[in-house]
Structures are given as C-alpha cells and as structure tokens.
C-alpha cells in the first residue's frame, strides 16, 4: 500500500536524518580535508589542495605501518583468547547450575564499566615494582624479581591484552551463548544414543552449528579491535615510546596533539576504509537476512 510506504519513510526520517547529519556529513568533510595540507600549528601555510600527497606520506610513514602492525597483533591475539575462553564460558553457562545467575552477572560487570576504568584497574595491578601482579608472580615463583612492566614493549602488551580479554570476553561469551541456545538439544541426545562422547559432540555438532554465531562475534570483535583507543590511551599511552600505539591513537595524536588536520584526516580515511571493508564483508555475508526475514 502506498500510504504504508509514505508512513514508513516519515517514521524513519528523523532517525536517518540525525545519523546522516552527524555521521555522514563529517565523514565527507574528513575526506575533503584529507586532500589538503592543514597544519594548525603553521597557519601561515594556509590550506592548499594537495591531492593524494597525504596518502603518499602515509604509505611512506613507518610509524603508521608500525601502528597498523600493533593493531593487527593486538586484535589477533585478543580475539583468539576471547574466542576460546568465551566459548568455554558459554558452554558452562549453557547448563543450569546453582549460582549461574551470579556468574552471568559477575561476568557482565567488566563489560559494563567504562574502558578507561578497566584500563586503570589493570594498570594499577601491574604498576611499579610494588604492584600486586609483581607481588603475586614473585611469591608463586614465576618471576625471580619484580619487573617494570611498562618499560619494555613485549611486557607492556601483556597487561593490555589481559585487560581487553578481561573486559570483552563476557560479550563474546554472550554472543556464543545465544548461538548455543539455538542448537536443538535432541541432536545431542541422538548422538549420545548413537554412542558419541562429549568431545565428538563438541567437534561435530556444537562447533559446526555455532559457526554463524562465531562469525558474527569475529566480525564485531575485529572491528572493535581495530578501533581500540581508550584502553591503550590509559594503559600505556602508546608506549614505551610508540611501540604499543594503535592506528586510532596515532591518528588522535596527529590530529589533536600535533594538530596536523590534513594528515590526520587522511589517516582517518584510511582507518575508515579498512573498517568499512571489514564491515562490508559482514553486511554482505549476513545482510541478506536483514529486511525480509519474517515473512
């Protein structure tokens, strides 16, 4: 019915309008800005159009590539850990047991607090030689003596990844749990009757049927990993030096610290393109179900 079509557009318009204004317009602006030289610290240079020069500079910028590498490393390690632990948690929470509600709530709290608070908690644990992490590791014998975690790159990554896993595994567990709950229990019963042990059931029933949920989780988490900012800003500030700096933090520094708006915008566009590419993958893969699903 035509009136339905009109009504539909009318109802969607305000929300769409807000999103378009506040998300799309700035994005276009960023792209435009990225084609100019715009150093707020050197206003006498004006704002000349320089085409793709910023992008060329990015391609030659070792700090950018390093940041990309850090981001990829962080994302990969975090997701792997989160998937494994999250899957375990989801499997555990799928059965009813006493205290399950408490477990679910307890596991949700890290997800619910601000990332900066989480980062601070973990920074505190690993801070200084007198921190509790050092204390515990030394007393258990894993370390001979306390170390300063944030001075060396590879020891600095440990609290970062721990903090991220701590904070986001609950979300992963929840997504996987939802997927688990969609699996027909009678499949397991049939398998048990046929003589299959729990390991077989896990490998041949659970994991294959969980693939869609795992895919969704992977994509959400990859995007999140790629956009990481809060966590590292507070935990290491990108340090030592710039050795734990992810692309988002590099861009932030370029923009609001070095005030290189043209270059920073180009960085923004690059980041956006990468995340958009990943997002496109997602929308293509699962997007067919979006609108006409219920009929």
């Amino acid at each position: 019915m035509k009136s339905e079509s009109r009504l539909g557009w009318m109802l969607v318009a305000p929300a769409l309008g807000v999103i378009a204004l506040i998300a799309i317009f700035p994005l276009g602006w960023t792209f435009w800005e990225s084609l100019h030289l715009h150093e707020l610290r050197m206003p006498w240079l004006g704002k000349p159009f320089i085409g793709v020069d910023n992008y060329v500079e990015i391609a030659r910028d070792p700090r950018f590539w390093a940041a990309l590498g850090h981001t990829a490393f962080f994302t990969f390690v975090s997701i792997s850990l989160e998937l494994v632990i999250g899957l375990f948690l989801a499997l555990a929470m799928n059965r009813a047991f006493r205290g399950r509600g408490f477990v679910r709530a307890a596991v949700l709290v890290p997800w619910a607090i601000p990332t900066v608070v989480a980062a601070l908690l973990w920074r505190f644990i690993f801070e200084s030689q007198g921190g509790i992490a050092n204390e515990l590791l030394v007393s258990v014998g894993i370390l001979d003596q306390p170390i300063v975690w944030f001075i060396k790159t590879w020891t600095a990554w440990i609290p970062v990844i721990l903090a991220d896993v701590w904070k986001t595994t609950p979300f992963v567990a929840l997504l996987l749990l939802a997927g688990l709950q969609n699996i027909d229990l009678t499949l397991y019963e049939a398998a048990a009757v046929d003589g299959a042990n729990p390991w077989w059931q896990l490998r041949h029933i659970t994991l294959p049927l969980l693939k869609p949920a795992i895919l969704v989780t992977l994509i959400f988490r990859t995007l999140d990993g790629f956009r990481v900012f809060d966590l590292i800003y507070v935990l290491t500030g990108g340090g030592p030096g710039t050795t734990t700096e992810p692309v988002a933090l590099y861009t932030f520094n370029a923009l609001l610290q070095n005030l290189r708006f043209g270059y920073g915008s180009a960085l923004s566009v690059v980041i956006f393109s990468i995340t958009f590419g990943i997002a496109l993958l997602y929308v293509k893969g699962l997007g067919v179900k979006l609108a006409g699903e219920e009929r």
Binding site: E4, M10, R104, L108, P114, V116, L175, P198, T275, G287
Partner: protein
Amino acid sequence: MKARAGWGQWAMGGVLVALMVFTLFPFYWALVSSFTPDAALFRDPSLWPKDIILDHYRALFDERDFFTPIRNSLIVAGTTTFFCLTVGTLAAYALARLEFRGKAAIMAFILAVTMFPQISIVSPLYLLLRSLRLIDTYPGLIMPYMTFAMPLTVWVLTGSIRQIPRDLEEAAHVDGASRRQSFTKILLPLAVPSLATTGILTFIYCWNEFLFALSFTLGPERQTVPVAIALFRGQYQVPWGQILAAAVVATAPVAVMVLLFQRRIVQGLTAGAVKG
C-alpha cells in the same frame, strides 16, 4: 561412565572458579586499595587490607568535586538515551512492521554506521562544534553521541519489535483500531521491556564513552566520569588512592544495575547482535 562425567564436571567447575577469580580480582583489589593510604600502596602489598582509611573517598568528593563529572555523565547519557529512544522507536516500528522500498538498504546503512571508527569523525565534529560554539557544552556531547547511540537503538529495537507477534496488531486492526491506536494500545505496552533494555544498553554505552568526551570538553566543568578519572593528576605522583576510589564509585552503581537487570541486558545484547 558416571565417574568420568563427574571428573569432567569437576574440571569444568574448577576452570569456572578460576575465571570467576580472574574476573572479580581487579575489583576486589581496587576496593581494598581504595581504603589503603597512598604511601602503603606499592610497598609490600597484601591481599588482605591492613589499614582502612576513608581519606581517598573524602578527597574525591571534597577536593576533587567528583559530583560534577557524575552529574555531567548523567545529563549527557540520560538525554541522549531519551532522545534516541523516542526517535528510534518510531524508526524501529517502521522498519519492523511496514513494507517500503529501501528498507533493506536502510538497515544495512544503520548497521554500517554502528561500525564507524569514531576517530574518523572526531576532527570534523570538533570543527563543527567549534563553529557552533558548542565545545565544552552538554549539546556538544549529546550530538556526537547520537552517531553511535541512534543506530544502536534503532537496531536493537527493530530486532525486539520483530519478536512481538504480528497477529496481535492485525487482530487490533480487524477490531477497528487505527494504526496509531494499535501502536499505542497494543505494541507499545508490549514493547516496554525492550524499550527498557535498549535504554539501559544505550545509557551504558553513553556513560562509558571516552574519545568524544575527551576531545570535545575542555575542563572539569563539563567532563564526564571516564574523562575525569583518566585525567586525575596529582601534585607529585599519580594519586592512585583517589583514582581507585573514583573507580569504585563509578563501578558500584554499574555493578548493581547489572545484577538487577542481567537477564534483560543479555537479552538485549543478543537480540541486537545475533539477529543481525
């Protein structure tokens, strides 16, 4: 076979307990340390509190005026959530119940926007806000917050409304209710739980937001809780005692909310995510 099952259960239980300890330990440690004098913090730390002092909490509210960031966060998160819920419900109703061309494209668009890296729009938003003289103001945060709050709200609400059976509204139409009447008398009352859940989720996301709040506020008058905590500066060294006290204060209400609403939150998260 039974003995084996028992062993497996025990192992699982053991790992679960270990995970629980891992999850709760940072909170515990922060709590204990927030009652410990600064001097003792990195000197011979122990898992059990030795002294208990309230100095950090007192300083938090007296010297640092932690009330202000709390107030700011409440206003910004609350207003954004309210606005997004009202506008978002209408859009979600249209997307869930009405047929019109371009619906799939809109949904894809909304999904895509939720994946925007915030950093990509920080600078133009900054310049835009500056030209509107909205830097360091409430609207100056509420507006940018819409970029992620609005798509999130619409997405989760659309998924939730889809789960309400259509034939209830059809029955209402056959009974003589206009579209608006079936919306207000039938759908809305049934959607209240979803609205609450979406509201909670949106509020949490707004409350926790850092990058925009960091970029678009200038001073303590308008800073939100995450920014305030992250920027705590001491005179000579990092004031960990106060930082942890602030962390506890920021976390406690969240923990309570999660405990109360965990079922809802889980439903909302999974309805929004798994559906898509």
